[in-house]
């Protein structure tokens, strides 16, 4: 391969990606289980409102909850079955939330109606109807993201997948390249933009080569560096534009979508299938058979781990999402939501369990912060209870990527301090 000029952003960290565990494992369809618990709050914004009641019979792909506000999304039944009821369960953050419990039985697959003509408005309506949210992890409803209030000239497809371990986007790109490109084109059409740029990290060369065959989209190879897939970092690396501090991508004429979202858009518009399943990577040294799995929303984590051969006794941490920004689960009672990209069982060898020690002011956190902040002072002032002074050191701009905590030799929990500080500042206002 010819030498390419790799693009990237400033600072950030280099860490072992550990993608080799699952990168060559084709996406497997997980067999159906008996019980599904579908969360009513799988996205950023207002929780959805259930439209089914206890005892109702639902089909696979039937609407079971509709959007509950301006920023919200529809939710569809992952299987045919009977609604047992709406239950309160603890979500992955340990907070009680509402879940629709569906017991599986036989039935038919419901699909959405065909779209007559695929113009911008029809595509937008379809995306809203199909309940598509950003599948990269944030879960922002896609139909709102593609209705920017400012003129946009570029659609950037985020194929960086910079989180270590995760390979779900990579496998999608290898196995369903055509679908993703079609989905991206549909998104571009709904935005009325002609320029599509795919940003992909250098550790996914096979996918890059596949994507290069499409002459009407531009594929940019990026350096392998975390957080390359951070929205602002990706936009800068791919287009050289800097999203203003506290601004949105649309301020620089860009909309960013994840590859998995493109696939979901393709499914919704072409196959008339709403969003109720997604690919997740089950990985980590604690899993007996690591896999890339196509799972239905609402599948209990315990069943997924069981299907992957169970977890080893040495497992000390179970993470929903990627190891840098994911959530540590305390048990396996959680369920898959639209935004889950991974389920990682870590042994002590991989997970860091070292207790924090005093800051030695080495400055490594500031040297690695992709947002150019000073985490050591944010931590210092937050610990002292002086939340407003932290603003000076940029707490409001933090993207919580975790680079600072990763490099900290004193193993300080800098990201937690920052999150706490943000919450306290929010409380104040």
């Amino acid at each position: 391969m010819a030498k390419v000029n790799l693009k990237t952003f400033h600072k950030g960290i280099h860490c072992d990606d550990n993608k080799h565990i699952t990168r060559d494992k084709p996406i497997e369809k997980m067999p159906l289980v008996d019980d599904y618990f579908v969360s009513l709050s799988q996205h950023i914004g207002a929780p959805s409102v259930a439209v089914v009641e206890k005892g109702d019979t639902v089909n696979e792909g039937q609407l079971i909850a509709k959007e509950g506000g301006n920023v919200s999304a529809n939710i569809f039944s992952p299987v045919c079955g009977q609604v047992i009821g709406t239950e309160q369960r603890l979500n992955k953050f340990g907070v009680p939330a509402n879940y629709i419990h569906i017991k599986r039985s036989e039935g038919q697959v419901a699909t959405l109606p065909d779209i007559d003509k695929r113009d911008a408005i029809a595509i937008k309506e379809r995306i809203a109807l199909a309940g598509i949210v950003g599948l990269g992890g944030a879960g922002f409803p896609t139909h709102i993201k593609i209705s920017p209030k400012k003129p946009v000239d570029t659609l950037i497809i985020n194929a960086a997948e910079c989180e270590p371990y995760l390979t779900c986007d990579y496998r999608l790109m290898i196995e369903t390249t055509d679908d993703i490109i079609t989905g991206a084109k549909l998104l571009a059409k709904s935005l009325n933009v002609s320029k599509i740029i795919v940003g992909i990290e250098e550790n996914k060369l096979e996918a890059y080569q596949l994507l290069q065959k499409y002459s009407d989209i531009k594929t940019v190879l990026l350096k392998k560096k975390y957080p390359q897939g951070g929205e602002k970092q990706l936009i800068f690396a791919v287009s050289g534009r800097k999203v203003p501090a506290k601004g949105l991508p649309m301020d620089v004429g860009v909309v960013v979508q994840n590859v998995a979202t493109c696939k979901a858009v393709f499914d919704a518009c072409i196959k008339n299938k709403p969003l109720y399943e997604r690919v997740i990577t089950v990985s980590g040294l604690g899993v007996n058979n690591p896999k890339n799995l196509l799972v239905r929303v609402g599948t209990p984590y315990a069943k997924i781990l069981e299907y992957c051969g169970g977890i080893k006794d040495e497992t000390v941490k179970l993470i929903s999402g990627g190891p840098m920004m994911g959530v540590a689960l305390i048990d396996t009672t959680g369920v898959v939501s639209k935004t889950d990209s991974g389920l990682i069982a870590m042994t002590e060898e991989e997970a860091s369990l070292v207790q924090p020690s005093p800051c030695i002011s080495c400055g490594r956190c500031a040297a690695s912060c992709p947002m150019n902040l000073m985490p050591m002072y944010i931590d210092f002032y937050t610990q002292a209870g002086d939340y407003t002074t932290s603003i000076k050191y940029g707490v409001e701009h933090c993207i919580e990527c975790g680079c600072c905590s990763y490099v900290c030799p004193a193993k300080r929990a800098l990201v937690q301090s920052i999150k706490l500080c943000k919450a306290k500042l929010k409380e104040k206002n």
Binding site: D153, K317, S352, V415
Partner: protein, 332 residues
């Protein structure tokens, strides 16, 4: 499957494998060449001097921990910072130093400069330098006789000054009779145990730079600024450049002490400002006082570090004056 409980914690869940202890160990490793060179140049007495300094530093910390009612296990679980402090103190004395001087310096450094201010990471000035400064001032009378601050002929035949003191006193560098090579290797020189052999310091510097414990730029900036400012103060006589860098404790301090994490700013620009000012202060004070003042220059600048960090705060990503929007290539 039985419901196993896992460790809950905030993100990120993976971390770099470096830690404070590892960094301190690297510093200790980087000081070994200087220690060996000192032993070769000044004889076997170097070993008890250095070991005594380290021991008194470590014991001071443990005793302080015990006195402040820490549980025994925590009290003895020291990060290697006090070993580094003790080692630096030991290496910055003359080999003929009275045995109690390095002990007092270590105790002062650990108890007064470090522990009272809150332990590791909370000291305002570099403990090793402060300890050295303390005994230098306290035993000034004593030190002119045998120069505990470290400027004496190691053989004790002629109690004299270091090459730097000679240069500074005579105001000329032609009559000192020492070649640059001797200065570099530390041969036939008076000086402190660790500071005399520049080649050993250089090895330590390279090791620290490769291990990324220190940024290789900062000692270079410090040395270059000191050299150039000395040249400028002497009417742009460039013959001053190399001797001013190679003599005295400058190189040792520049590599191992001025780069101390706790007492340097936390940003790239902050460090640039810090090390350039440090160079100016060192050269200026040297010429003004006619003696070796690196210790005082660094201590002085240490105090300003918090202010530098207050003034120089990087702008968050996206804070820009000129927006490049839309770039030409996307205007099609």
């Amino acid at each position: 499957m039985e419901s196993k409980r896992f460790v809950g914690s905030g993100s990120p869940h993976i971390k770099d494998n470096t830690c404070t202890k590892r960094i301190m160990l690297d510093v200790i490793i980087s000081l070994i060449p200087a220690f060996i060179a000192g032993t070769i140049l000044f004889g076997i007495r170097v070993i008890p001097v250095v070991l005594l300094s380290i021991l008194s530093a470590v014991v001071s910390e443990v005793v302080y921990n015990l006195l402040s009612k820490k549980p025994f296990k925590q009290a003895v679980d020291i990060d290697l910072t006090s070993v580094v402090t003790g080692l630096l103190i030991g290496l910055s004395f003359n080999v003929k130093v009275a045995w109690f001087v390095p002990i007092l310096a270590s105790i002062f450094a650990i108890i007064v400069v470090k522990m009272i201010f809150g332990g590791t990471g909370n000291n305002i000035v570099n403990p090793a330098l402060a300890g050295r400064c303390f005994v230098f001032i306290s035993f000034l009378g004593l030190s002119t006789a045998y120069v505990s601050g470290g400027w004496v002929d190691p053989n004790g035949i002629t109690v004299g000054a270091t090459p730097l003191a000679n240069i500074l006193e005579s105001g000329s560098l032609y009559n000192i009779g020492i070649s640059k090579l001797d200065l570099f290797l530390g041969r036939n020189l008076a000086g402190c145990i660790g500071e005399t052999s520049k080649i050993a310091i250089l090895i330590g510097y390279i090791y620290l730079s490769i291990r990324k414990v220190i940024d290789f730029k900062w000692p270079l900036i410090y040395l270059a600024t000191t050299g150039l400012f000395t040249v400028a103060l002497n009417g742009f006589d460039f013959r001053w450049f190399m001797p001013s860098i190679l003599s005295g404790g400058l190189m040792f301090v520049a590599v191992f002490m001025a780069t101390d994490y706790v007492t340097t700013p936390n940003t790239g620009w902050g460090n640039t400002v810090y090390f350039i000012s440090l160079g100016l202060v060192t050269a200026g004070l040297r010429m003004a006082c006619q003696m070796e003042v690196v210790t005082f220059a660094v201590l002085l600048m240490n105090i300003i570090v918090p202010l530098i960090d207050k003034w120089i705060v990087p702008k968050p990503f996206g804070t820009i004056k000129k927006q490049i929007m839309p770039p030409k290539e996307t205007q099609k």
